[in-house]
Amino acid sequence: MASKPSRTPLIIAIVVIVAIVAAALGYYIYTSKPAATPSPSPTPTKVKIEKVVIGVVQPLTGPYAIFGREAVDAARLVVDIINNELGGVRSLGGAKLDIVVEDAGTSPESARLAAEKLISQYHVPIIYGAYISRFTMAMGTVTEQNKVILVTDALVDDLANQGWMYFFRVAPRASAHGVSAVDFVMDMAKKYNVTIRTAVIINEDSVFGTTVSNGAHLQLVKYGVEVSSHITYPYDITDMSPIIDQIKRLNPDIIIAVPYFSDGVLFAKTAKAAGLNPKFIAGAGACGFTDPDSIKAAGDAVLYYTNTYSYNPAKPTEWNSKLVSEFMRRYGKMPTEAAGEVFYSFFTIYEALEKAGQMFPDDPLNPDHLRQAFLSLDLNESNSIAAQLYPTGRIKFAPNGENLYAGTAVLQVQLINGTLTPVVVWPQPQEGVQPVFPRPGS
């Protein structure tokens, strides 16, 4: 090592930097020329499409893996049914559907990589994903630039306000969940003649939880119910008792809770132990309380809890019963929210592909043609499978890609033949079931 700093390093460093900048400029000039070849070649006319590959990006690792894994299971099932029982996409000459699954990982960075990979390696025309809103946001910038249709199962409202052209969401957005929960409770209160003056809202503090709870908050204010407290907590909370004790002191008529998963079980167990028994406890946002795993872990602590669902597994339509029983046969459990969203979103994609084949037989997979096909859909239970699977039974897209007829169902945990079972109680109760309202003994 030289005792006196020599000047050579500095010079060489400058040379290298100059070289890099020169290379960059050269490249920049080179690429800013009009592109010689048009990007992913529009399919030449009359070439038979063998299969349509749909990219699926879901969180398969990390704290949200629970949902991602179920969604992938459901996607495999739906694709098999479309290919084997419906003979593929008929208007595309019986083209089969195929999926490529990518893990969204645990950060927006990896979700974005996943989208780039699907587009540059597999040239997928459609991507389904990525459950988490900020992952979806990172993907959306990529899908927009590459003109790839993004059908999302991320529910945060904001996603539809980005001015994205190739974005569609069949599932009901987050705030709609909060609104539905409140509508349901107020509807029941009127029906069973219960007065509701005060409410406490508690939610896990993600963007999703906050959006859902804000939807509920506004709706409660609209009904003139006083919100005595709006409490947020992190989803991985390990001790609920301070919160329950606070709520107990406030003694509200109802509680609207937006849990993530394990916190929901913790809430229910702690509330039961504390003897917290308001007139009603309604969940919103589909996670926790009423899904089979929560019931298994919480036991009768969640009895009479409700939650809003983007999907109604008990919907008595031919195709819904079929999918539910196939899912149970193959995976040994009831499909929940994540699977349900895949059911109707994938059948919507399928029906949009049929439509694209009819409208643009020469180039059905062109992104703008696909977009028009999506926008031209007007599905109801008599003309579509997707609508049979959807809670409101109707699917039609607004120009911003949001389903105009979005809505949720409400499930309640009831004791049926001695077992805790989630049953649909709202908007139409399923056969032989009545909502239990208010909570017994309150």
Binding site: M1, A2, P5, S6, T8, P9, I12, A13, V16, I17, A19, I20, V21, A23, A24, Y27, Y28, T31, L60, T61, A65, G68, R69, V72, V100, V101, E102, D103, G105, T106, S107, P108, E109, S110, R112, L113, A114, E116, K117, I119, S120, Q121, S133, R134, M137, A138, T141, V142, N146, D158, Q162, D205, S206, V207, G209, T210
Partner: protein, 316 residues
């Protein structure tokens, strides 16, 4: 700085740029390369405090997030273009680091306690930003260009990241060849002894901390550019730990080892995520953990040790 170090830097740069040109047609590889290079830059910056000074700093993501968020907010609220804003972002990060560093070094917090303190700094900032920003994601404005350090193509972004990486490497080499570097190595060997012989250990640790946090904070905005949004979740304890781990696996204090570890593990992680993540969930992270254990137990001197072995073998 010797001729051979310069040669290896030039070779490394040439190789990196060559790879960049080769994959420039494929957005996936281009984005991956950019992410790998940025990760390597963070690891190389960490090397200043961790590798050269021997302080187990686990707050890398805190400075990264702080710098990135400050830069983004200056842009979105005051219209200050990020090309200027990053310097402010870096300064704010360094300011906070020094503010905490003064009492920390004054009271002799070191080793595991320094590690835990920095790890909890990430959690504290995470909670505070959560409290003031809410849970929301903030999206960068729809503006693109060099002025905003947010070019339209990944290749240009890669060039920016590459310049940062090169700068960090040069800073590392410059420090380690200078008088400060000499004292830092003394501190790393034995802090008490260097104190006894009259080295102002607090001052030099503080200098190392300031340089590292400034670079990390300034480069933080590039992470925000890749995410295209920011929120309090940028304060990510896991990311800080993995950056420190790369420095360790690379062989403490060896800049080439640190960069090699960052490149290998980030690329391997992505390979496993994309090939196995969809099939066997969690397998990529599991193998990552196994690699850590194996390297930690069998090759504690890290990849740098492996390099030296190879070099010796070559010369035989």
């Amino acid at each position: 700085m010797t001729r051979s170090t310069l040669l290896s830097i030039a070779l490394f740069q040439a190789a990196l740029l060559a790879v960049g040109f080769l994959v420039s047609g494929n957005n996936y590889y281009m984005l991956l390369l950019t992410q790998v290079a940025l990760f390597a830059a963070f690891v190389a910056a960490w090397n200043i405090i961790g590798g050269l000074t021997g302080q187990l700093d686990l707050a890398s993501s805190a400075y990264m997030a702080l710098g990135g968020i400050v830069t983004s907010l200056l842009w979105m609220r005051l219209g200050l273009p990020p090309v200027v804003g990053v310097w402010v972002g870096g300064a704010v990060a360094a300011g906070l680091a020094v503010l905490i560093g003064i009492p920390t070094f004054r009271f002799g917090v070191r080793e595991v306690w320094y590690a835990l303190m920095t790890a909890s700094l990430v959690v504290i900032l995470n909670n505070l930003f959560r409290y003031f920003m809410g849970p929301w994601d903030f999206y960068l404005p729809n503006k693109w260009g060099w002025l905003y350090l947010r070019p339209r193509t990944y290749f240009e972004l890669f060039i920016i990241v590459d310049v940062v990486l090169l700068a960090v490497i040069l800073v590392n080499i410059y420090i380690s060849g200078s008088k400060i570097g000499y004292y830092l190595r003394n501190i790393k060997e034995d802090e008490l002894v260097s104190e006894a012989v009259g080295v102002d250990t607090r001052l030099y640790k503080l200098i190392a901390l300031a340089i590292y946090s400034f670079i990390t904070g300034a480069a933080g905005f590039l992470q925000v550019v890749i995410y295209s949004s920011f929120s309090y979740r940028l304060f990510d304890a896991g990311l800080a730990i993995s950056i420190a781990i790369m420095g360790i696996i690379g062989g403490l204090g060896s800049i080439s080892g640190a960069i090699a570890a960052a490149v290998v593990f980030r690329a391997l992680g992505e390979y496993l995520r994309s090939t196995l993540g969809g099939v066997i969930p969690g397998l990529d992270l599991l193998l990552y953990g196994v690699a850590l254990i194996v390297v930690g137990i069998l090759k504690p001197e890290g990849l740098a040790g492996l390099f030296n072995q190879l070099r010796r073998w070559w010369r035989k």
